[in-house]
């Protein structure tokens, strides 16, 4: 195994059982359907995709908040899925999460000091006498004064709360932070602040990130490597810069073209909209009824005969991985 790899995910699958009504037969939702990727040390690995693509399920699987049907998750070579007791607790110190909604992820009845010292209390990494000092240092690191300790979450704006959540995630000195849409509930001017903060923290303490987002401009700015997910599968994966310069999977192309661009601003030339999804199906199919063949084919403007019958494999092409019959042919 490569020494640079912090986390390796192989063949990860998570199916949920769902019932649509009291008497109906349960059916399966293939939320994550065979996903492989590697997170390198001190790098940002991003998963992008739309709602229902399974990106948040991947995050929760890696943290073992839910258990997968199949697959392996290796953290520094150790199989995470086999851990229990103290070893699992130690793993959870190394991998922390930042959630999307800073309004829902802080206990409204707990003062900020309480929220930030709780991880220390549970994991007993430092003696109690040092709690206050630890909390103060971490608050400073995220750009907050130490007097916020005695205040309650409702006294803070969304951006400040997200800073508090970041501080909480850092309390135990993690090596990997899973950030699940950490910016999407924030205002534009605040998003940039938090993004810059994450970058600074990454550089200061050599963190690695799994960054989950639907916002392509943020991902382009922050990540080193990207996996594009669609209906539980990775459809394209590669280096961020290359993927944005030359998106190859039709879904990646559609995603990048769909982002509204500011026309006239110096740095973003208006791209040519080469193919409009006009005659193709409009909506993302539900993960309950994933189409036959390539899951993207009903929406794909470039589909041809094999797409409706055969599932394309994720194969290397042009220095990245793509699952598309078009690139497989070349």
């Amino acid at each position: 195994m490569n020494a640079m790899n912090l986390m390796e995910v192989r063949g990860l699958k998570k199916y949920f059982q769902m019932r649509s009504g009291f008497l109906s037969k349960p059916h399966q939702v293939r939320a994550v359907d065979g996903v492989d990727f590697t997170i390198e040390q001190n790098k940002v690995f991003a998963i992008v995709g739309e709602s229902g693509s399974g990106k948040s399920t991947v995050a929760r699987l890696l943290l073992r908040l839910i258990e997968p049907q199949e697959g392996d998750v290796l953290f520094k070579g150790t199989n995470v899925l086999a851990l229990s007791g103290d070893k699992l607790k130690a793993y959870r110190r190394s991998v922390q999460i930042i959630f999307q909604d800073p309004f829902a992820s802080l206990n409204p009845r707990m003062k900020i000091y309480g929220a930030l010292s709780e991880p220390l209390k549970i994991h007993k990494t430092v003696p109690k006498s040092q709690f206050r000092e630890r909390v103060r240092t971490m608050l400073e690191r995220v750009g907050l004064d130490s007097d916020v300790m005695e205040r309650y979450p409702h006294e803070f704006s969304g951006g400040q709360r997200q800073r508090i959540c970041i501080a909480r995630a850092l309390m135990l000195g993690p090596e990997l932070v899973v950030a699940d849409e950490p910016l999407s509930s924030l205002d534009v001017s605040i998003q940039a602040q938090i993004l810059n903060l994450l970058i600074r923290i990454k550089e200061d303490i050599g963190l690695s990130f799994l960054f989950i987002s639907h916002d392509l401009s943020v991902v382009q700015y922050f990540s080193d490597k990207i996996a594009v997910m669609y209906l539980g599968k990775i459809v394209e994966m590669g280096e961020t810069a290359e993927l944005f310069d030359n998106p190859m999977h039709p879904y990646t192309q559609m995603l990048i073209e769909s982002v509204p661009k500011i026309i006239g601003a110096k740095t973003t030339p208006k791209p040519q909209k080469s193919h409009q999804p006009e005659d193709t199906a409009a909506d993302t199919p539900s993960p309950i009824e994933i189409p036959e063949g390539c899951p993207f084919h009903p929406r794909c403007p470039k589909r041809f005969s094999p797409c409706t019958t055969t599932v394309p494999e994720l194969k290397p092409s042009n220095g990245r991985l793509i699952s598309c019959h078009l690139t497989a042919e070349i």
């Binding site: 739309e50 940039a192 700015y221 073209e257």
Partner: protein, 322 residues
């Protein structure tokens, strides 16, 4: 302007409160011409949605406005309650952000569209339902004759938002207020819904007020745009000018907050969006502005026309040549 459809003239919006009412929108003024898409951009709490509610006549019970809103030259406050009700949903329609919560879950989408037509156009139920099927086809919902019997939960988010559009355009309104119409949608679906809205807008020569926090969305769709902050218009211009030559530090700050690729550093606006009851003295952006001087905190600048059609509320960048 001769073909002005909507004119918002010096409107301030207040919330009733013990110990003095709270002003959330401070004397804003803008015109929307016939057939135009006018963008209103701002962050949460800047007053953009409540302004739309005032135009629509659906301010919450504890809110009221001062100033005048004219629709086709007629002052809305002069109309009787019945006349206002006749406009709402008929000549002025609204598309809300959340198609989940703004459709009635226990009525079919067909009935909800038909209801608009029965109320405003006096159509019979059969005719109204038939028209609803056409409208669902207009908003590109596949097999509309079947889908008309669907309940909202049977549809995806993008389809629900298209149902909202169908309801809004049912009476062929002159003005559509679209309040964050695509914020709840995925980006590829957003592109489709907007394309659809644009097509309908052009076909019927409707005017649209597009309220959003997304600068890119406004840039691609609106003809003119107003940037709001703390209940005020800070800068307004035609879209091309505003994005090519933004002058207000807040507009510039917003543009710099958007990632533009790996090699352009992000320059965020410091501080946080102020609450309406806790605004700074003088210019309301002065506490977050990198250029602020002493005089910025002394008096609030006026919204001045710095070149034709380009308005700016800043004493430092007020001149057109800066």
């Amino acid at each position: 302007m001769t073909d002005t459809l909507l004119s918002v003239d010096n409107v301030s919006i207040y919330f009733k409160r013990q110990g003095g009412d709270l002003k959330v929108v401070n004397s804003i003024a803008f015109d929307v011409a016939k057939g135009e898409i006018f963008g209103v951009v701002g962050e949460s709490g800047c007053g953009k949605s409540i302004t739309a509610a005032a135009v629509m006549g659906i301010l919450p019970q504890n809110a009221y406005y001062k100033g005048d809103i004219y629709f086709k030259g007629q002052r809305l406050s002069d109309l009787t309650v019945d006349q206002q009700r006749g406009l709402r949903g008929n000549k002025i329609a609204m598309i809300f952000q959340e198609p989940m919560t703004s459709l009635n879950p226990v009525l079919t989408v067909g009935y909800q569209i038909a209801e608009v037509l029965m109320v405003h156009k006096g159509l019979s139920k059969t005719h109204a339902i038939a028209r609803a099927v056409e409208l669902l086809g207009d908003v590109k919902i596949p097999s509309p004759a079947l889908r008309v019997k669907d309940y909202p939960h049977q549809m995806s988010g993008g389809m629900r938002q298209r149902v909202m559009i169908a309801m809004a355009i049912a009476c062929n309104p002159a003005l559509v207020l679209a309040d964050e119409p695509t914020t709840a949608l995925d980006v590829t679906i957003q592109a489709q819904v907007l394309k659809l809205l644009r097509g309908i807008q052009e076909r019927y020569n409707m005017s649209v007020v597009l309220i959003t926090h997304d600068l890119g969305l406004v840039s691609e769709n609106a003809g003119r745009v107003a940037i709001m902050y703390a209940g005020r218009i800070m800068e307004s211009a035609d879209t091309a000018t505003l994005f090519k030559r933004p002058v207000h530090p807040y507009t510039i700050g917003l543009l710099n907050s958007i990632p533009k690729g790996r090699h352009t550093p992000l320059v965020p606006i410091p501080g946080f969006v102020p609450k309406p009851d806790n605004l700074p003295e003088g210019c309301k952006f002065s506490d977050r502005c990198g250029f602020a001087e002493k005089r910025c905190k002394e008096a609030e600048p006026m919204l001045l026309e710095i070149e034709k059609g380009h308005f700016n509320r800043c004493i430092l960048t007020g001149k057109a040549d800066t």
